[in-house]
Amino acid sequence: MAGPINWFLQVASVTKFGILSIPQRRGSALASVIGIAGVVAVLVSVLSMATGFRKTMSGSIPPDAVIVLRSGADSEMVSGLTRPDTRLISDAPGFAHGPDGPLASSELFVIIDLPKRSTGTDVNVPMRGVERAAFQVRDKLKVVEGRAFGWGQNEVIVGTAAASQFAGMKIGSTIKVGREQWPIVGIFSANGGAAESEVWTDATMLQGAFNRGDSFQAVYGKLATPGAFNQFKDALTTNPQLSVKVEKQADFNEAQSTMMTKMINTLGVLVAGLMAVGATFGALNTMYSAVSARTREIATLRALGFGRGSVVISVMLESLALALIGGLLGGALAYLFFNGHQTSTMNFQSFSQVAFAFDVTPELLVKGIVWAAAIGLIGGFLPALRAARLPIASALRDL
């Protein structure tokens, strides 16, 4: 019975010894802590970009939202539907109904060239022409400033993210669409979704400005119940007059964001991984010097009857403690500097700008701490072995 307790006491006292001696090795301990903090900060902040992007693209989309595109089109940009097509689509069974008929909005999606605030250079700003039902289909969307555009008017409203990312987007100013300047009459929010990066207007007006005749690119709709999806999809895809593809909007948006999130994640893990290798060497150096500075203490303890195991464990615990401090520091830095930081990038799949905020989630912080712990354990293991193998007699002779 006394065995394990005794052993724990040994580990605890050797560890306490080690940790209390850290201030004497301030420099090297600090170097290893900061090294690990650097790894975790880079890892967490780069990955938080991917999480933020993904959250904007596919977050908070209700399960009853659907999108219909021409078959073969993997983005709205390259899709095309004629007026007869969109009429057939809105007549399909399964849509929820409002006072004006089915909740289905035929929409046009184009890009316009406008300068980005941060760089001053032109970027592809997404612009959407919508029908009346659009505001019921996306029921989270609301005009937060000014008013909605008038139907049949050359007027636009802009999303909150668009207003903050692109230059000249405020109520009262105008943007060039087609051959004329259209006034901005309102600013809308959409629960953090990608629509907040867009400029909206009446679909009919946009068709005219972009010489699109009477054609659209996608139909956005809201189903009566999420369960109606399969029936709805079958009705459209088996209709011989149509050649369309039907997706849940959540799935569609998720697919639109994969390329970008995959790229950010790959690069982030690659960079942080290489840094982690460097930091592991740093941690090894620190612990090796810690062990060699304490050769005599360790030998003395061993001579007094402390076991090898407790020496190994205590050296590793010390390394782990330093690593965890580094990990917490790095995570905190990433959180303080990047969480909520607004930026925008080009989404390759929609060929247009998406504004998003870095999102440092608890999962990412945990991931960072796990990385830190791994570096600490690897960095502590070899020095711990050396400490345990110290020949007691010769180490004591050095006294």
């Binding site: 650097g38 940009m77 390259v78 184009v110 250079t121 060039k176 960079v271 840094m275 290798v277 990038t345």
Partner: protein, 384 residues
């Protein structure tokens, strides 16, 4: 140089420590090399851009088309030597992941506009003779094992043929090479006359123009003249030097430069600390020896030089090995499988990296060297 053995044996004193320090420096420079390659891949168009070329696109949106008739009007503008056009075809070969650009062009004008694409005279002749002929860059030809004479089906969601089909089949009549290592040879080009006749939309429409100016110094003025020429017309244009256009594209992705430099900053700071700490430790341990050196007549300068030489040696060795390794990784090609077609480390980055490694050596050696210089012989020897 005669002191080199002394410096060398100091480095060998704690082999493990030297080795670990070397490895962490090496890792930092591998990262430096790879990040440079990523940055180059994302912004590469800027350095590739021809100084005498302008890009002219629709002012409102680059997805809006321009009339083919603009060519003649542009070529009448003083200072313009040649105008030619391309159109975004947006096709897919087998799988959307196999991304490369395919554009319809007017062969002679196109090849004259882009002398960096090298096509043999006989392949050029074959292109003239084959209406459905296409030329493809070496990189893409190698990737899909295409040979001259192959028929290549490409699907496009944007352009339907008159019969409604969205699959276009091209005959590969030529494979072009790039003049420079940085020339992008991933695109396919086919004949505009075939395209214009076969697609379902309106005739005589093109995506954008490339204009060559007679004198690169006048390109800004020529761009203004072009913009002015089409003011208040059905399709107003935006003319820009090719480099500005490429910069704009890079900016679309967000501030790549800033992100890369901040990551590099974090990495270097980390490595600086790790190495600096190790160096300081190494000098501290040798206080006594340095005292002896001073006692037997070595000057302060020489002692400082020893310490600095040691730190610089380790930094430069690590730097060279790291950059070399990064270069090896980069030359095995694009790690993302198609998204960064131009993945290589530019020479300027290699030179910069070497410079950084020297700076790293000096910076990490500075404090230990200072310490060594200030060392008083009597105090140092007493510590032995």
């Amino acid at each position: 140089m005669k002191f080199f053995p002394l410096i060398w044996s100091n480095l060998k004193r704690k082999k493990l420590r030297t080795f670990l320090t070397l490895l962490s420096i090496l890792v930092a420079f591998v990262l430096f090399g790879l990040l440079s390659a990523i940055k180059e891949a994302l912004t590469g168009g800027i350095s590739m851009a021809g100084a005498n070329r302008l890009v002219v696109q629709h002012k409102v949106s680059l997805i809006l088309l321009l009339p083919e008739s603009y060519k003649a009007r542009m070529e009448r503008i003083p200072g313009v030597e040649l105008a030619t056009h391309q159109t975004w075809f947006g096709g897919i070969y087998q799988d959307p992941k196999n991304f490369f650009m395919q554009n319809p062009v007017v062969p002679d004008e196109f090849l004259s506009m882009y002398p960096e694409f090298i096509l043999s005279a006989e392949q050029k002749k074959a292109w003239h003779e084959t209406r459905t002929g296409a030329i493809v860059g070496r990189k893409t030809a190698d990737k899909f094992h295409w040979k001259i004479g192959d028929k290549v089906p490409i699907q496009t969601p944007i352009w339907s043929q008159k019969d409604g089909s969205s699959t276009w089949t091209f005959d590969i009549v030529g494979i072009f090479d790039g003049k420079e290592k940085s020339t992008d040879t991933s695109s396919l080009f086919f004949r505009y006359d075939y395209f214009d006749e076969a697609h379902r939309g309106d005739r005589g429409q093109v995506g954008w123009y490339t204009v060559r100016v007679k004198d690169p110094k006048t390109s800004a003025e020529v761009a203004k003249l072009i913009n002015k020429e089409f003011e208040n017309s059905m399709a107003e244009v935006k003319a820009e030097p090719e480099a500005a256009m490429a910069q704009e594209w890079a900016n679309q992705l967000g501030d790549i430069g800033l992100i890369t430099t901040s990551i590099l900053g974090a990495v270097f700071f980390t490595i600086l600390l790790v190495t600096g700490n190790t160096m300081a430790q190494a000098v501290r341990e040798r206080t006594g020896e340095l005292g002896v050196l001073k006692a037997i007549g070595f000057t302060n300068g020489q002692v400082v030089a020893f310490v600095l030489a040691e730190s610089c040696l380790i930094a430069v060795i690590g730097g060279v090995l790291g950059l070399g390794l990064a270069w090896l990784i980069a030359s095995s090609g694009d790690p993302t499988g198609g998204m960064l077609p131009m993945f290589f480390i530019p020479r300027s980055a290699l030179i910069l990296g070497l410079g950084f490694s020297a700076v790293l050596g000096l910076a990490t050696g500075f404090f230990p060297a200072l310490q060594a210089m200030r060392l008083q012989v009597a105090v140092a020897i007493r510590r032995m």
